[in-house]
Structures are given as structure tokens and as C-alpha cells.
Symmetry: C2
Subunit: 162 residues, 2 copies
């Protein structure tokens, strides 16, 4: 069975007891979360989010470069006024470089990916600091509170970086 | 109180009963989900995801253009072999055009955002079909099962598009 079919079965149960059909479009808690796509991080459970609370933007590494379009939409059209960044321990982004993945793509797919910045990082704390700075320096991002955390996949805890 | 502080308080409770500290990096169910950042969509609850199951990539609209870097990393380095796309009813992306948001940014931030494609769409089903096609046509994406759904924020149900 494809995972998609399993999702359909799980969703039937979710929908059967669904009671949140009257939520409005703008996030109630006026916050946008930028987090890694990592499978071990459940942003809602780990941060106490209920349906309707927050925009959740996720990508490989939780990098803000990839999230800028979404953050601008979140702030300009949907009223969020705070940003929370969540990177995490044992992140895949700590394990490779652009050269490594470009070379793998060349070998396995026979494609050139030199035009893609895959945004890996060698230092976890620094990656959070860099992303906060990128947002603070961007003229397209409002001057709002930005907090960065490292989620520990070993303990389930978030540890504040800045 | 900032929302970040509230997240810290909620996370203390989550971590206090956390039992999943030995999960491995690659997603157990070998699937990458690409979904909208919308606050009303809790991808884990709506699809039956547990910590460790799946990569979750989210952005404004759940557009694959923004997700390509993450999908390539997911497939090439972390072994996912299926993709599920989730857009949803009452999406903010149905309510504006590039011209509208660029003009707002010009007026409110005095910045030029003509270089950013904000990827809004006028037709929800078509947006899912377009994103599936984009992935199928990309030479950087493996030939894997791709399924696209519309999540109904009114009912909690996912409805298959393709």
C-alpha cells in the first residue's frame, strides 16, 4: 500500500471527529514558525500548536532563504508579527556540502545542480544565528521579534539560541 | 508574553513525557509531504504522522517550486521514495496576484519585490495538478509515486485530486 493510501485512512479518522471547521484564515497567535522538515520534529506537538494558531514553514534545515517568500506573504497579507526559527540536533544539513550533493546528482541523475544552493551548514548554533540575522537584515521582513531555537531530537526539548 | 515564551512553556510539557529519543534521521515511511503553511492544517494530525515518519515541507501554498531543494535532499540523502502534496480550501494564495503583493510591498516597505515570484494561484485543483506536473517533469526529482490532495479546512477531510 502506498503511504498516500495510509494517509487517506488516517485522515478518515481525523475528519470523523473534526470540530474546527470555523477557523479563520489569519493565524490566531500571529506567529510564523520556520522549522526543519526533519521527520522527528512534530512542530505542533513540540510547540503546543493547535489548528489555527500559526503559520508553519518547513524545509531542509529550516533555512530562511527558502522561507522568505512565505514570510513576506505571512506578514503582508495574513498579519503575523513574530517569527520563531527551529533547527535541530542530528540534522542532515550538518552531514554534507554543496559539492557532495551536486556530485551525487551528477553521478546518479546525470544532471547538473550547480545552480542550486542546498544551504547545508557545519555549525548548528551558527545556522540559527545566521538565519536570524538574514531576516533582521532583509528589507522585505518587518521589524518583529525573532527567536531561534535548537530542538533536541534526543530529548524533545527546545533550547534557545538567541 | 511573546508567543516564543508560550512555546517554551508548552515544550516543557512535551519534553517531560518524551519517549522518542532514539529515532533515526531518515524518515521511516520514506515519504515527503509538501503542504501549505496554513495555520488550520496540522499535517501530522490530519495525515496520521508520528514523529520519525515523514519529511514535512511547508510553504505559502504548498508550492513545489519552493520545495525543490528540500525534495532533492530528501530523496538523494535521506531515501524518501514517495511525495504527497496537500493544498487546501480557503487558501490565501487564491486571494491575490503578484501585482497586488508587489504593490503593497512598494507602498508599505518602499521596496521593490519584482524579482520574487509569490506563486499565487486562481484555481485550487489546477494548482495541485500543476505542482504534480512540475515534479514529474523535473530531471532532479526521482520517478516516484506522487499524489495530490485538497485539504478541506471546513471538514478536516483530504480529497484526492490526482
Amino acid at each position: 500500500m502506498s503511504v498516500a493510501k495510509e494517509f487517506e485512512a488516517a485522515n478518515e479518522k481525523y475528519a470523523a471527529s473534526f470540530t474546527k471547521g470555523d477557523l479563520v484564515l489569519p493565524p490566531q497567535r500571529k506567529v510564523a514558525v520556520v522549522a526543519c522538515m526533519d521527520a522527528r520534529l512534530d512542530t505542533a506537538r513540540a510547540l503546543g500548536l493547535e489548528e489555527g494558531d500559526a503559520h508553519v514553514i518547513r524545509n531542509a534545515g529550516g533555512r530562511v532563504t527558502d522561507a522568505l517568500r512565505s514570510i513576506v506573504i505571512s506578514q503582508q497579507l495574513l498579519g503575523t508579527r513574530e517569527i520563531v526559527i527551529v533547527h535541530h540536533t542530528d540534522c542532515g544539513m550538518l552531514t554534507f556540502t554543496d559539492d557532495v550533493i551536486r556530485s551525487k546528482i551528477k553521478t546518479e541523475l546525470n544532471q547538473n545542480a550547480d545552480h542550486i544552493a542546498f544551504l547545508p551548514f557545519p555549525d548548528l548554533e551558527q545556522s540559527v544565528r545566521d538565519d536570524i540575522k538574514l531576516l533582521r537584515d532583509s528589507p522585505l521582513v518587518l521589524d518583529v521579534p525573532i527567536t531561534g531555537y535548537i530542538y533536541e531530537v534526543e530529548t524533545g526539548k527546545i533550547v534557545k539560541v538567541e
